[in-house]
Symmetry: C2
Subunit: 349 residues, 2 copies
C-alpha cells in the first residue's frame, strides 16, 4: 500500500493506493446517511464488494456511458433523488467509478445543501486524474466541463484490484493521462515504452508495478495541485497538456478521454517542435491508440475549441512541451490553429 498526502490551504487529505477498500470504514460515520453515485458497469462488477465493507441504502446509478449522463438534467434527477430520501447536510457521497462518475458525484457533493462530505473510490486507471485535485464538472450542450467547482474529497481510496476487470481498451485509455504526467516530469515511462521489448500487458499483470506507476502519476499531480489549487497561476494548467485538442476530439468523435488526450499530446508536441513527436506518435500506436484513419472536420473542431475554459481574449490556449518536465503556455489564433492542425493531420493522422 502506498499513501500520498495532498495539502492545500484549509484542506488536507490522503490518497491510498493498493489493496485499500476496507479503509472505507474509517471514513464513514455510521450514524449518518451515505449515498453512492456510480454507473451501471461499476455497479454490476464491484458493488457487491463495497457492501461487504459498509451497508449502503442509497445508490444513484448512471448509465454505461456516464460521460453522456454528466449533464444538468441528470444532476437535477440526482438532487431530486436525494431530496425525496430526505438526505441532509451530514450526508457522505461516495464517488464510485471512473472519471465521469467522479466529476458528476463531485459536482453533486459540492452543491447539494451547499456541500456535503465526499469520498472518492476511483475504479479505472484514468479516474486518478478526476479523483485527485478537487475538480468537479458537468457538460453543457457540447461544451465539456462547462460548469464545475473546486471541491476536495475527505479521502481517496484507490483500490487497484478493481482495475483487473477493466477491458484492455480502458488501460490504453488510462495510459494517456499517465503518460502525460510522465512527460511533465522526467519521461522515464516514455523511455521505457520506446524500448522494443516493452509490453503493456506485462505492466498490467503486475499489481506492484501498476501501483507504482499510478503512485508516480499522482505524485506529479500533487506537485501542481499544491502550488496552484484553483488554477489561478496558470501553472496547474500545464496538467492540461493534450487536453485542448483532446476535449474537442472526445466530444465530436466519441473517443475515450485518455485516447483523445494522447492524440492531443501529440499535437502539443508538434506545436512545440519537439524532437519526440515521431517516436511519441509511434509509441501511442504501439499502445493500441489508432492514430490514423480519422475523418476530422476542422470547422467542428474549431467551434468546440472556441468555448474551451482555458481560452483568454479570443486566443486558443494550448500547453507546449519541448523537453520532459518543461511545459509552457502556447496561444494560437484560430487562423494559426487551422494551419498547424492541417499540417498535423497531413503528417500524423
Amino acid at each position: 500500500m502506498k499513501v500520498i498526502k495532498i495539502s492545500i490551504p484549509g484542506f488536507t487529505y490522503d490518497v491510498f493506493i493498493g489493496n485499500v477498500l476496507t479503509k472505507l470504514i474509517n471514513y464513514v460515520d455510521f450514524q449518518q446517511e451515505v449515498l453512492v453515485i456510480t454507473d451501471e458497469n461499476v455497479y454490476n462488477h464491484h458493488f457487491h464488494k463495497l457492501i461487504e465493507v459498509i451497508p449502503i441504502k442509497h445508490v444513484f446509478i448512471l448509465s454505461k456511458n456516464p460521460e453522456q449522463d454528466k449533464n444538468i438534467l441528470m444532476y437535477e434527477k440526482c438532487v431530486d433523488y436525494a431530496l425525496k430520501r430526505v438526505l441532509d447536510r451530514k450526508l457522505t457521497v461516495i464517488a464510485f467509478g471512473g472519471g465521469a462518475v467522479g466529476d458528476f458525484a463531485g459536482f453533486f457533493a459540492s452543491t447539494y445543501k451547499r456541500g456535503v462530505r465526499l469520498i472518492n473510490l476511483p475504479t479505472t486507471l484514468l479516474a486518478h486524474d478526476s479523483a485527485i485535485g478537487g475538480k468537479t464538472a458537468l457538460n453543457v450542450g457540447n461544451v465539456k466541463n462547462a460548469i464545475g467547482t473546486f471541491y476536495q474529497p475527505e479521502v481517496v481510496l484507490y483500490h487497484t484490484p478493481f482495475l483487473k476487470t477493466l477491458p484492455y481498451i480502458e488501460f490504453t485509455n488510462g495510459f494517456g493521462e499517465i503518460l502525460k504526467h510522465d512527460l511533465l516530469t522526467n519521461g522515464v515511462l516514455f523511455k521505457m515504452l520506446l524500448n522494443d521489448s516493452f509490453n503493456l500487458e506485462d505492466v498490467l499483470s503486475n499489481q506492484e508495478l501498476l501501483d507504482e506507476i499510478i503512485y508516480q502519476g499522482i505524485f506529479v499531480k500533487k506537485f501542481y495541485i499544491e502550488r496552484d489549487p484553483y488554477e489561478m497561476k496558470g501553472e496547474r494548467e500545464y496538467l492540461n497538456l493534450g487536453h485542448t485538442l483532446g476535449h474537442a476530439l472526445e466530444r465530436l468523435y466519441n473517443l475515450k478521454h485518455g485516447i483523445a488526450v494522447s492524440i492531443g499530446i501529440g499535437f502539443d508536441l508538434f506545436l512545440s517542435d519537439s524532437s519526440y513527436i515521431l517516436p511519441y506518435m509511434e509509441t501511442i500506436k504501439k499502445l493500441g491508440i489508432l492514430t490514423s484513419g480519422y475523418d476530422l472536420s476542422l470547422e467542428l473542431i474549431i467551434d468546440i475549441l472556441k468555448n474551451d475554459k482555458k481560452n483568454r481574449n479570443d486566443k486558443l490556449m494550448f500547453i507546449g512541451l519541448k523537453d520532459f518536465g518543461k511545459p509552457f503556455h502556447l496561444e494560437l489564433t484560430t487562423k494559426e490553429f487551422t494551419v498547424k492542425f492541417s499540417e498535423f493531420m497531413r503528417l500524423y493522422l
Copy 2:
C-alpha cells in the same frame, strides 16, 4: 460612506455602504468581459445608472419574480447564454438586484467554468443578507435553497440610493432580516421600535440613519461569518433565526422572505419562552406585517420542514433566543413541532 472588511481564510473583501456605485470602476477589468445578472424590475429602474459607470454588453434578466426563477432550468439557460457569447474564465459577473438575484448570480459565478469573478450590487434592504457571506443557492422543486455553494464576492457595493425606489412593502420585508441581526446582538433597534413615537417612514427618509442600520446589520453578520465561514460549527446557523418556519411559509404561501422570517422569529421566540414574544408580535404588526388571517396547513408545512438543510438525524432544527444576543440550537421532533406550532397559531396567527 461606510466600509466593513470581511476576512475569512484565503479571502478578504470590502463591503461599501452609501453613495458608492462609482467605485465599480476600480473592480472591473475593462479588458475582460462583464455579465450583469439582474431582474426585470431592477433592470427597468436602475440599469441606466449602471451603464453610466461601466459599459455593459451582456445582461441576463430574470423575471419580476426572481425567487421563482431561481431554479436549475433558468440556471441552465444562463449557462447557455454565457457559452453562446463565448465568455471565458476571466469573466466578471455582477449580481445586480435583491436576494434572489444574488443567490442565483452567485451560484452561476461559482460554477461557470469552475468559478469566475463576482461583484455584488444589492439593490434592496433584504439583499444585504444574501450579498454578504458567500452563500449562493437555487431552489429545487419546493425545497428552498436545496443546492448552492459557498463563494465569496470580490467586493460588495451597497449603493443605498437604489433603495429609494423600493415600495414600502420591500422595506418591511427587509426589516425582518435587520431586526434579526439586532435581536442576535443587543436589541437596540427592537427597543427603539417599541417606543410608541417611532415611525419606520422617518428612518427610510433619512439616508444616514438607513446606512447606519444597514451597517449594524452587516457588522453582526461579519462576526458570525468570520468565526464560521462554512457553517461547520453550528454558530453561523444562529443567523438562521426565524428561517426554519420562515422558509416553509415563504415557499407555501408566497410570502416575501423577510416577512416570512419575521413570523418565523416570532415562532422561535415562542419556542424559547421569551418574555419578548408578545411585544415582538405587536411590533411586527406595527411594521405592517400581517400576523393573523393566515390559512396555514400544518401538514404542508411539515412536508417542507423535513427537507430543511439544517435538519440532523430526522430532528427539525430551530434557533432559540431567550435574551438578546444569546441564541441557541433547538431540536424538535415533528410531533413536538405539531403541538408547539398549533399553540403558536392559536395564540398569535
